[in-house]
Symmetry: C2
Subunit: 339 residues, 2 copies
Amino acid sequence: MTVSITDVARAAGVSASTVSRALRGQPGVSDEVRAQITAVAAQLGYTASRSASSLASGRTYTIGVVVPYIGRWFFGTVLDAAEKVFSAAGYDVLLYNLNSPEARKRFFTKLPVRKRVDAVLSLLIPDLDEESALRSLGVPLATTVGGPRDGFTVVGIDDHSGATSAVRHLVNLGHRRIGMISGASEPLHWTTPIDRRQAYLDVLAEAGIAHEPALEADGGYTVDGGERAMTELLAVSRPPTAVFAQSDEMAMGALRALRRHRLKVPDDVSVVGFDDHELAEVIGLTTVAQPVPEQGAEAARLLLRRLEEPDAEPVGQVRMPIRLVLRETTAPPSPHRSS
Amino acid sequence: MTVSITDVARAAGVSASTVSRALRGQPGVSDEVRAQITAVAAQLGYTASRSASSLASGRTYTIGVVVPYIGRWFFGTVLDAAEKVFSAAGYDVLLYNLNSPEARKRFFTKLPVRKRVDAVLSLLIPDLDEESALRSLGVPLATTVGGPRDGFTVVGIDDHSGATSAVRHLVNLGHRRIGMISGASEPLHWTTPIDRRQAYLDVLAEAGIAHEPALEADGGYTVDGGERAMTELLAVSRPPTAVFAQSDEMAMGALRALRRHRLKVPDDVSVVGFDDHELAEVIGLTTVAQPVPEQGAEAARLLLRRLEEPDAEPVGQVRMPIRLVLRETTAPPSPHRSS
DNA sequence: CTGTTAGCGCGTTCAT
DNA sequence: ATGAACGCGCTAACAG
């Protein structure tokens, strides 16, 4: 039925070991024999069984990638870029989509990647237990978000400085009542929302603006959540004239809420997002751009390097550049609304 | 180092086969022995090596999923839903992201899934050669787009009727000059753009409107392409008063082009999309909604059923319902512009 | 109900 | 440069 290495060996008139060596480009095979074997293998449509070869060699040539939710643009884009790097290097990708607490728990207790992968790239932030579960795999690890963590190569951005530039932009335009839509509800070990919030607080303080807790609302990193959060912010006694959303998706939700309230953007309310989502430009959203595919690609490359050069000192953390992109959702506050 | 089945067997004072049987829930093991083995295995942190077990059993408990481009919302969403079904059933997902001609070619010539998966779900439309390459794997196959194909379970929508409702909507509003932004440039075996275009032609004919080739433009299924296509359509001598975009992403590009031309939507030009993209509602885009995650989940379920009941007659094709969602980008043509 | 015996298909010695 | 023998960790068939 399926053609095995001995079939090729027989057809080529050599031994199985020679076929193995020839096909993997190892030395110790004469050029003519190698060419012959390659031809026979191609003709028979032979592919080595990954199961058998990894059982024999210990190498799986497979990378486990853990994602919190593929459907979200950010993760899809990172994954896309990372997969490209892995597959170009001859590695397969085993995908684990942990978008529910059950899926997440099942993954970390059963650890189906054990003995199945050469390395793990996690796009979700593991908590302390999950972190040590991953470490117990004994393979190189990488993450694309959050702060530095033991044993992991972390590729990310400087959230604080990104958020700083967003909020400062609003301050510079003359806004004094600046709201924030955050996404802090989730795991505690995720520093991103914390850093971005801290930047918000820091810029307000630096501008001499008193912080009002009522101007903060949680949008849970979704469009719908952003809409709800904006609605909340519009319900306070003196609503903000500008809003910093910690993600573009929440910013888009905010825009929808504003439209429903018949408020003009940016005339009545300015909005800044974070990410530079693929559709941010379509909408004309001012935002903080981060290099999303680049982060995935870089994390993948660093992981592969750790596999290829096990003895080299692993890279602990990489910070990618961010930049503010000015578009059409921010403007100075209109005179009759500013304080 | 890593704990194997014999370690567990020794620690539990039984043979390896008993451990194997006990852990896989097979009959022929007394309850007490099974409980004992389970406990020992848990304590040792034992997980069976997938490589070894699939080599021995022939089953891999892995599904290969082929995607043209994960970053695109549609595919990300389908994949998300499918993965959920697979992992809940105890299957792992091997992901192949074929977003470049080279990646695609490499995949279909080397077929890295050979002997590695129990089934394949392809979200891209294979051409005839690719189709037979997949069939040569000898495993159940499924697709989530396109027409029926031999040996594949196809889960999709009725593209013709979806597009019909979109174009008819424009006709009913009173439009006579209706443009189309298509995405036909890619593989020939993909029936979606063909069906949607045919519907466009049919509705025009049925309404007694002459077809003008100049009112069709290619948007390549991307936002940028949609923008270029719309720009082309605006450059013809008598531009359309309404446009049917074959995907929401192209419709969004069209909206951007219209805004750059200072044209009002829907006052000057109406736009209908196709898909009901996550952000379509944010933008207020009128569109044809298709059940995206449902298609992925259903395809996954049908594939698993074929694995579990190999003798049952496989389902050939499933058509999911579509519906027109009216929002804010369509309206009757304004008097001074309509013909 | 349990243990023994054989492979699954390859990579890897060690000879030659 | 090539082949023979062994083992990776597990499951399956056969005994008992």
